[in-house]
Symmetry: C2
Subunit: 342 residues, 2 copies
């Protein structure tokens, strides 16, 4: 069943059927009714492929993400916000998950180009030189999420990982901590890895606190890796740190679990601060003090910028940095007050 067949049955031309479907030009009432009848009877639905081929517009947005096993709920929130905005404007989304595999990621860009998506929302994690050369001449509008790239001037939507991590560290310092550990993410992740670590290091330096290499460990987002990192730190250090900053809440959770397992209590024996403000953070034992970032705003903004490029010829702004705030719960001990009251 195609438009031609509908036209034949209704005794009109295909142009007329098209007009009925798309409401482009006025069509006489009885013709419209007859055509609509046929469409209902036959269950005909127009072929988007032909339409999109003709119109050079697919109303489809490609979304490229990079997640491993653990499903980061913040990503879910962001994608929800994205689909909300896009759906309202009639766009569909194609989702591609390149599991941190650079080559695969580039393949998805190629597929999206062949599929002629109108635009791409790109959750960048590991941006390589190859990415640069490839994307430099890529013909489809891209909005980057989670990272920026000065060379390519894609509009970008970011969390302020650096300042937020600095804030978290400073908070620990304000609370009187000096022996502070850090559980990080590898550097290939520019945002959660590099930026957060930098925030930690700068805060320490600015406060003239030396970073003890024995207090450092590296995980991979997972709870287990937080557990292992905490263990690593405790085993390795003679004098224990009084606080540990974990670059993700899940790793913070793993760290806390190791501690309670070994008989330490949080925050009495060790303070923990996380990053992400995961759904369960308020419900942990103790409730986790962490950095909350506005994921919903990130998704909404990214989708909006892309839409502006597509429909208004350009993004309203080149860069959007999401708000963050420190959520004070119960996993950090205030050493100063303690000392005063003693």
């Amino acid at each position: 069943m195609n438009i031609k067949e509908v036209a034949r049955r209704a005794g009109v031309s295909i142009a007329t059927v098209s007009r009925v479907i798309n409401n482009t030009t006025p069509v006489s009432e009885n013709v419209r009714k007859r055509v609509e009848e046929i469409i209902n009877e036959t269950g005909y639905r127009p072929n988007s492929l032909a339409k999109e081929l003709q119109n050079h517009k697919t109303n489809t947005i490609g979304v490229i993400i990079s997640v491993a096993v653990l499903d980061v709920t913040s990503l879910g929130t962001t994608i929800n916000a994205i689909t909300d905005v896009l759906k309202a404007k009639g766009y569909s989304i194609m989702l591609a998950n390149s599991r941190f595999d650079s080559k695969e990621e580039l393949d998805y860009f190629k597929i999206f180009q062949e599929k002629r998506v109108d635009g791409i929302l790109y959750f960048a994690v590991n941006f390589t030189e190859e990415h640069y050369w490839f994307l430099k001449k890529y013909p489809i509008p891209i909005v980057m999420i989670g990272q920026e790239n000065e060379l390519l001037d894609f509009p970008c939507v970011l969390h302020d990982n650096y300042y937020a991590a600095k804030l978290a560290t400073e908070y620990l310092i304000q609370m009187g901590h000096k022996k502070i550990g850090y559980i990080g993410i590898p550097e290939y992740d520019a945002a959660a890895g590099k930026e957060r670590r930098k925030g930690f290091e700068v805060a320490m330096r600015l406060n003239n606190i030396e970073i003890n290499p024995h207090y450092l460990a590296e995980g991979n987002f997972s709870i287990e890796s937080g557990y292992a990192s905490m263990k690593h730190i405790l085993v390795q250090s003679v004098v224990k740190p009084t606080a540990v900053f974990a670059a993700t809440d899940f790793m913070a959770l793993g760290a806390m679990h190791y501690l309670t397992e070994k008989g330490y209590t949080v925050p009495e024996d060790m303070s923990i601060i996380g990053f992400d403000d995961v759904d369960v953070a308020p419900y942990l034992n103790p409730p986790l003090t962490t950095i909350h970032s506005d994921n919903h705003a990130v998704g909404r903004q990214a989708a909006t910028l892309l839409l502006q490029i597509l429909e208004e010829g350009g993004p309203g702004i080149k860069k959007f940095v999401a708000n963050y705030e420190l959520i004070e719960r119960k996993s950090v001990k205030n050493l100063i007050i303690d000392n005063c009251t003693k």
Copy 2:
């Protein structure tokens, strides 16, 4: 830039270019080389729309899910498994999230039909009569996930919610509990709502234990609703239950949180069992006893069945039920041993 232009520049016909691209018929070595050169120089990429229009095959699978705000991580696992299987066979996926909105869901089915996806993976939640009439005459292969429908004979991939919930309840009973509460999901959700509740009720009846209506509450998947439900139960009942079965881990978490907040300890004062085996379940305080179901297998099977329909003319099996098991952790107290040792 299109195939015609490439052909012109290479001095060959478009048929030859097509042959070079798709490796369908032998092409002389020097022609192949020249064409490939032009393609590389120009950055030409074939237009999938035209190809798909011609071939009646889009290599795209539509996935319809229904999630609210909280991102159920089990869904993420399932989708990961799906994309793994589909990607290996060269399929892309289009993701649509109908937020429990029936009408919206049907709209997505229409869009997917117009986009001519090859098949659909349908996470069914609230299957209405309207769905039935609509899907009855839907021309694209569908595999249902999470629910089955006897009338429409779509292949389906399921968790055995009923038996698993029965098992969880029986476990509580075996542990000596008789005053058992239940925090459920509304009935419109056939799987997490209806089936699990049925499992609970049947287990109770089979063991001649009366269900105390004061021990019953209903949530909506969220942690908060678990918290509120637990409160509801405690406030409402004079004699407290000794154990509560929460139909989802998140609600179990909320319930535990309310209990610890009020000074009860789990499992000493109240046992809690969950359902889902969420990532964080082993790391809660206490680690949550719950039902684990093999989400990865569900995703893998669903994708495989769909692929079989598309490429082998029919699904290998009509119905796949995933394994489940009870994971015993620390949130349920054994009343019997306790009584014996006393």
